[in-house]
């Protein structure tokens, strides 16, 4: 199993059925890639190219697609539940507002069948990691947007996921908050070493975070068109690092050469 991929998708296409006579919307076209265990991969592409569609397929939320997608060698979907522990961080925090932060994390733990004797220890640990130790008993609506998103990241790591899917988790936050959270995410990832598939339309974010960038073209029919290996870029990375900045500029150039211009987002 040394060579087993953590995530592997093969010729995955997705068409959203159109209404009445219309032909339908091709959201993904013939996507193929693999992600190795412990790798941090960013999918970079313009809005509407099918990134969320892809994560929904991988998380098992959407099972209407062509091609094959597997995690830890098992096809995605319900039957994969016991094969791999998957966590999903959405663009919005998606916390249940009637539960405290702690109780929101408990929900994920109980869904993952983690024994309740471990809950307190795990929750305290992840809350400390996202620096929300004092806020466990707060309700989400009492917290700022950035704090809510940190709570949702804490929820994701609480189940100690082997695979973590992230869908533009920082795009709704102001840049300053987003920067802190990216750094924090890398620190936490360093301790857990989950496989991360992180979706973004922000070239700098992709450069700062990932081992590898997979680029997508515009929708409809978004395709994977390019791949950039960033393993050479030493970690830990910092925002002041000139090499990170220079690299992100070449990433932007490559992206522009594929999709024309960046005007639309």
């Amino acid at each position: 199993m040394a060579n087993a991929a953590s995530i592997e998708i093969n010729q995955v296409s997705k068409v959203f059925p159109g209404k009445g006579q219309s032909a339908g919307w091709r959201a993904l076209d013939d996507a193929t890639f693999r992600v190795d265990p412990g790798e941090f991969v960013c999918i970079l592409g313009p809005s509407g190219c099918g990134k969320s569609t892809l994560l929904n397929i991988l998380s098992g939320l959407d099972d209407q697609f062509e091609g094959t997608a597997s995690i830890h060698g098992r096809p995605v979907g319900k039957r994969n539940y016991d094969a791999a522990r998957i966590a999903y961080v959405f663009q919005e925090p998606r916390l249940m507002p009637w539960r405290t932060v702690r109780a929101n994390i408990e929900f994920a733990l109980s869904a993952a069948n983690v024994s309740s004797s471990q809950w307190k220890e795990r929750i305290d640990r992840v809350l400390a990691l996202v620096e929300l130790s004092d806020f466990g008993d707060f309700y989400p609506l009492q917290l700022s947007g950035g704090m809510q998103q940190r709570a949702s990241i804490a929820r994701a790591f609480a189940i100690e996921p082997e695979v973590l899917l992230m869908d533009e988790p920082f795009s709704a936050l102001d840049e300053l908050t987003a920067r802190r959270l990216r750094q924090q995410l890398l620190t936490i990832w360093g301790t857990f070493r989950s496989t991360v598939l992180f979706v973004t339309h922000n070239a700098f974010e992709a450069t700062f975070l990932s081992d590898r960038i997979l680029m997508m073209t515009k929708g409809p029919g978004g395709k994977f068109c390019d791949e950039i290996d960033l393993r050479e870029l030493a970690r830990p990375r910092s925002y002041e690092d000139v090499r990170v900045f220079e690299t992100s500029r070449t990433v932007v150039e490559r992206l522009v050469s594929h999709i024309g211009s960046l005007d639309e987002h």
Binding site: L61, F90, P97, F107, A111, V130, E131, L141, Q142, I159
Partner: protein, 285 residues
Amino acid sequence: MSLQPLSVTRFVPSILSRKSAEDRARVSRWFEAHAADRVIKFASVLSLLGLWYFGAALLPASVMPAPHIVARVLLHEITLPRIWINVAITMTRIVFAFGLAMSVALVLGFAMGLSKTAARFFDVWVVCGLSLPSLVLILTIFMIVGLNDRAAIIAAAIPVVPILTINIWEGIKNVDQKLIDMAKAYHADRRRIIGSVIAPQIAPTMLASARFGLGLIWKMVLFVELLGRSDGIGYQIEYYYQMFNMSEVLAHALLFLLIMLFIEIILLGKLERRLFRWRPIQRRI
């Protein structure tokens, strides 16, 4: 690097930063706002009473007795068992009619919320039910079932069902699909999704519908008693009306109004506030 949020004081109630002057100012502002609220409510009740006195001054006492006369009649009535027996009879009918209306509305509302076919099918029924005058429905049911208690309960329940159904249907349609997806992505099973994600979202609508339904039902029960029963508060009101005794009419109505307001606002309102503490802005009655 510390990530203490810059904006804690803006989002967090006073527990954390009790010391800060800004916080204390906010607390006093809160009291101020609520005190103002009380004053306005008090003034509102007073002016209602004022209007009543004004009407009583203009009209003959046999048509509109002044509040203190009605109060005196009421104080006398509540020392006698008869009014309490009638209250008990009416309350029993309310409980049954309410149970019946809620059960039917729950079944219809859930069916419509969960199935598009059911929604299309029952939509017509609901619209018809809404546009049909309650009086017609009630008389029809009395005709079909007979002038008995069963008919009274059904007749009080049916006119309320359509509007309750719409309320419950709306509540189910508004369940946040994103939270359900979150639960699915975390591999929550069906039971957990229904119990921990869906139920808490529809509970507020259910409770609001129950309060709203109760408010409609009790008026409907009084109406039905007036039309086709020979006991209960509704009948008493009708009886004293026939006798031209408006003080008794108003006294009975007032007592029942006070009882129902107590149940609706104090009991159910408290329950609602307790259940939905997590909501930062509480809807005030």
